[in-house]
Symmetry: C2
């Protein structure tokens, strides 16, 4: 359509994602204009270099991006389509099917409509959370409307690549099923599990350990935003949650015959757990390889300034790169067990080196 240098984008919604998009495209000299129902958000996004305000007399942007929650995408894009008759229209919401249907019903021409979803959410909101490199190396799912013109899709893919992200084509349905399973349902389970604590006695709450914390970390997300996401992706979300609810009911039935249960009941419970092990093994490693077998070295450190530093300095001096770090805190104890994940070929070297320097290596 046009060269990357010549392109212009109008971003509607100056939250964390919209602002990051502006910053990313300013890096490659796109002309970025910004809009938000809250003029202060526009001011803040402009102040950190994400773009500028549109003036009354200027021409069409090449691309319009609705960077809003899913419920506003259709309305925002319909207004944009009416104002600008040639711009390519896209969005960055985590729901595709209903946002696309809604947009088309509101008169957005399908030939100009390309849904998109950058998989780069963080728990930071507002323009201040915006970062030019938020999308670097992230997957950005691209969901063209079925009758969308191919050059419109190319244009969005190009924008995605210029943001540093990796465009991945999916149908709206496949996208919505995928995020229902890997994002929306986990959110629901975390909320439901954490919600059980509301009426729990203090001594029960006090027993919550690392496993419970990990399982409920995302439960502190914004209920209004998530209610909207779940409602807009209800078809896919309810399919997954119904399946899980039935699986849990079956598990309750299998566990309810607990005095001398028949073998098939025991097997059924074990199968649920074993499937979990197999499913977990499919989760890709940090660099994208599946099942990458890191070795974990556990070190106990005192909970004092500089103690973690000593450990990481030692690892760095030994020339070992840490693939992952987990800190397991012990309630009320001024120390923590640090799990260092390393490449297997580095493990013995790191373990010996740390022990040689007097570190309290545990495994």
């Amino acid at each position: 359509v046009m060269s990357s240098n010549a392109s212009s984008v109008h971003i509607i919604g100056c939250g964390m994602i919209g602002t990051s998009l502006g910053l990313a495209l300013r890096r490659v000299d796109w002309d970025v204009t910004l809009e938000d129902v809250d003029p202060r958000s526009v001011d803040e996004a402009i102040a950190i270099g994400a773009g500028r305000r549109r003036t009354a007399d200027e021409g069409e942007p090449d691309v319009v991006v609705a960077a809003t929650p899913p419920g506003q995408v259709g309305e925002v894009l319909a207004a944009a389509a009416a104002t600008w008759t040639n711009a390519t229209l896209t969005h960055v919401a985590s729901v595709q099917t209903r946002t696309q249907d809604d947009a088309v019903q509101r008169g957005v021409p399908a030939r100009r409509l390309v849904g998109g979803h950058p998989m780069a959410g963080r728990e930071i909101s507002g323009p201040q959370g915006g970062r030019a490199d938020l999308f670097d190396d992230r997957v950005w799912v691209v969901c063209p409307a079925p009758t969308c013109a191919p050059d419109r899709v190319d244009q969005v893919r190009q924008m995605v690549r210029l943001c540093g992200a990796r465009p991945v084509d999916m149908s709206v349905h496949d996208h919505d099923s995928a995020v229902a399973m890997i994002s929306h349902t986990p959110q629901v389970l975390a909320s439901v599990l954490a919600g059980r604590l509301v009426d729990a006695p203090d001594d029960v709450v006090a027993l919550a350990g690392q496993g419970f914390r990990d399982m409920t970390r995302i439960s502190s997300s914004n209920p209004d935003l998530w209610e909207e996401i779940l409602r807009w992706n209800a078809t896919s979300v309810t399919a997954v949650i119904s399946g899980i609810s039935e699986e849990l009911s079956q598990l309750v039935a299998d566990l309810s015959v607990h005095d001398d249960p028949p073998a098939h009941r025991v097997d059924a419970v074990r199968d649920v757990l074993a499937r979990g092990v197999r499913g977990h093994a499919r989760i890709p490693g940090k660099h994208g390889e599946r099942d990458r077998p890191f070795e974990v070295i556990s070190v106990m450190v005192k909970d004092e300034p500089g103690q973690l530093a000593r450990l990481f300095v030692a690892a760095g001096e030994l020339g070992v790169n840490l693939e992952d770090v987990r800190i397991e805190h012990v309630m009320g104890r001024p120390s923590g067990l640090i799990d260092l994940s390393v490449q297997p070929h580095s493990a013995a070297h790191l373990r010996d080196g740390l022990m040689g320097q007097g570190f309290d290596v545990r495994s």
Copy 2:
């Protein structure tokens, strides 16, 4: 009953917990004898200083600990009770009601029986995972049989304290309800969620991000051990899981009216999410205080040896103690976003200090 110096303990089961118990009590000069169905485990536990083998002619131990999975506690303690007519009998299993019932049914005298559960599990098994300080500052739930002699309970509490742990009395029922909620049900939810990946297309699996990883981390646990735990705590576990299954079914119903849903449906979904936020806020902070408001500073670092070290050295030199560290990896990107949790009064100092040294501080 007896002074700590004079006490002796016989530990049956040289897994990670039994071996750690031996190591902990050797620190305070208890006479520790060890037994396991696998003689190699006893050898390994002895080799790292966890105790010694019993000889044929020696007298009674003061305390016998069954350090076995729940299904073997009753049998093991019944045999011990028959062999030694005065020893106090305890165990360290994560299920109390059925283990106690089973033991009593097998002839274990209730006046000598004190259930126990150290809240110190890690994902390491076997004697090699044993550590003398595993229990330091951990909660150790103590569940005496209803007709247990008070001096027996005191004796177990004393043993718990000598292990460095904090004894907390609970009824067997309260304990089992608590662990069903904060440990056993999270395990089931993690397994069920991860199990959904088994048949998922590759491009869906590839979208799994940090939230999904956190929600499924514990799903790689041993299915045989967990089947046994769930079955032995079936009454409490099924109560919690039934409740969650029903809540999920209701959520599906509330979400299934997605075109123009009545307000009470929208409110019901939002309430589930909002309850999660409230429940999450009750989880105690690292040092035991509730709702301790750490401030999070995010720093992007390159994924190279020494880079994490540089960051922690800088934090240490600034005199700031890190309360928690989270590393968010981005698939395929040779860098990671490090979230440093610090006391609010240290946040500005750390942020300014890191930025002054050229760190890529994100929030």
